[in-house]
């Protein structure tokens, strides 16, 4: 069987290896992705993001269980940080998802952030496409992050769930408005802890500001309290995610298309940057030059970053 057919048929080893090829930035993975593309575009991509330890994996586990009860197949991409000192990583999100390990309807992949070498975009979007092509009805993407990463998740998901915990009030105040605006659904997890209501109230205040600003958009961001370890509030979360999907898909609206366009734009720019950067590196190599050499020349004041970069790109 052809590799594309194997992926579409859901062959675990093939899918796992292609994901690896993408992660390891093998040039051959581009061709596979290209041939796989016609099979993509069906999955509902849901991002879960928030600070370390707030309960993202526990929530993903619970939500996945609900989708399985609805006979939907699930792909999970769980991203943990790479150690900046050693380049290694401990990927521990699976600990919270053990009950899905033997379910053929769930494919879980742990990812490290790795270095964003030379500004290359992370390959998470490509991996979402693989799971989408493999027929997963929903793809849940868990990312840790504050700031830029979160915005990126939001742009690449159809629905974004921002996870917080009680007592994060001060943090919430500190979070830039831009980040609050990416959440379609806000979860205050660990609602068993003190201060949950207060955090909800603070969020409500903050979101109201956001709502006024995002004129024209009818989706009112929802705030949901959950206790992920006990499964409390998950029904509501699940329902709300599905409501958001229905909102995007509402007949006569262009919202789903807009969400897809946003995703696609991000992806196209990523591929463009990646290819351009690779082409530049090839040229540098072809000249017998190297980035290190170039840096040395610049530091020695024989040249400057602007001239060096332009020389490479000019024919």
């Amino acid at each position: 069987m052809d590799i594309i057919q194997q992926i579409v048929a859901g062959d675990v080893r093939t899918i796992a290896r292609v994901l690896r090829d993408i992660d390891d930035e093998l040039p051959s993975s581009r061709e596979v992705l290209q041939r796989l593309y016609p099979h993509t575009g069906k999955a509902h991509v849901i991002g879960f993001t928030g600070s370390p330890g707030v309960g993202k994996s526990s929530l993903v586990d619970q939500v996945a269980t609900h989708y399985r009860k609805d006979s939907k197949t699930v792909g999970i991409l769980a991203v943990d940080p790479t150690s900046p000192f050693t380049g290694g990583a401990i990927l521990g999100d699976r600990i919270r998802m053990q009950r899905h390990f033997l379910d053929p309807g769930v494919f879980i992949r742990s990812l490290a952030t790795r270095g964003q070498f030379g500004g290359l975009t992370r390959s998470t979007n490509d991996m979402v496409n693989v799971l989408d092509a493999a027929g997963k009805d929903v793809v849940l993407v868990e990312t840790v992050g504050v700031g830029q990463d979160e915005v990126e998740v939001a742009n690449s998901a159809h629905t974004t769930v921002l996870v917080m915990i009680p007592g994060m009030g001060d943090d919430i105040q500190a979070i830039k408005a831009g980040i609050m605006e990416i959440g379609n659904i806000f979860v205050v997890n660990k609602a068993d802890r003190e201060g949950s209501r207060k955090t909800v109230r603070e969020l409500m205040n903050l979101i109201e500001i956001g709502v006024r600003r995002r004129n024209g958009e009818e989706w009112e961001p929802r705030i949901i309290e959950t206790e992920a370890v006990k499964g409390r509030g998950i029904d509501k979360l699940y329902e709300t995610i599905e409501q958001h999907k229905a909102y995007l898909l509402a007949t006569g609206s262009q919202r789903w298309r807009e969400a897809v366009e946003k995703r696609t734009r991000l992806q196209l720019l990523g591929v463009l940057k990646d290819l351009a950067f690779r082409a530049a590196l090839e040229r540098i190599e072809a000249r017998g030059d190297s980035i290190d050499e170039m840096v040395r020349r610049i530091v020695d004041r024989q040249s400057d970053p602007y001239s060096v970069a332009r020389q490479i790109l000019e024919k």
Binding site: M1, D2, I3, V12, R13, T14, A16, R17, L19, R20, D21, D23, D24, E25, L26, P27, S28, T82, S83, T86, G87, G88, A89, I90, L91, G92, R94, I95, Q98, F101, L102, F107, I108, R109, S110, A112, R114, G115, F117, R278, L281
Partner: protein
């Protein structure tokens, strides 16, 4: 320019007891050596371990031994790997166990057994010498 293949290792603890300190220490040592470690915690059945190894496309499974579960679980894991055409994934074990079990473990295909008290440095060195990212071989296809 490709950074090359990154070695991925599953660290798992089969069996019923909930003591995973040893496994955690090894996981951290692997991370510090630059590997990507998938860590799944305690109480793992052979089926869960192999399913995880396949989905995560690991090069190595490191099993923590403590409670005697290895006599059943290690051979079963090897069998499941073979059934799934994944005999290329290496398996090693280490922890606390009777030394007389070593021949039986090696016989079922475990690539290396680290005896009680093995030094972390030696384990890392062994991995560096013996494990390469198996994706380096021809890509999977037809």
């Amino acid at each position: 320019m490709a950074n090359g293949r990154k070695i991925r290792i599953l660290v798992a603890k089969p069996g019923l007891d909930g003591h995973d300190r040893g496994a955690r220490v090894v996981a951290r040592a692997f991370r510090d050596a630059g590997f990507e470690v998938i860590y799944t915690g305690c109480h793992q059945t052979p089926e869960q371990i192999v399913s995880t190894a396949l989905q995560e496309d690991v090069d190595l499974i490191g099993l923590s031994i403590l409670s005697g579960a290895h006599r059943y679980s290690f051979p079963r894991i090897m069998e499941l790997l073979r059934e799934n055409n994944a005999a290329d994934i290496a398996v090693v074990g280490g922890g606390i166990f009777p030394l007389e079990d070593i021949p039986m473990l090696k016989e079922c295909g475990i690539k290396e057994i680290f005896e009680p008290g093995a030094k972390l440095g030696d384990i890392i060195e062994w991995v560096g010498k013996n494990i390469s990212a198996h994706g380096d071989a021809a890509p999977l296809s037809s």
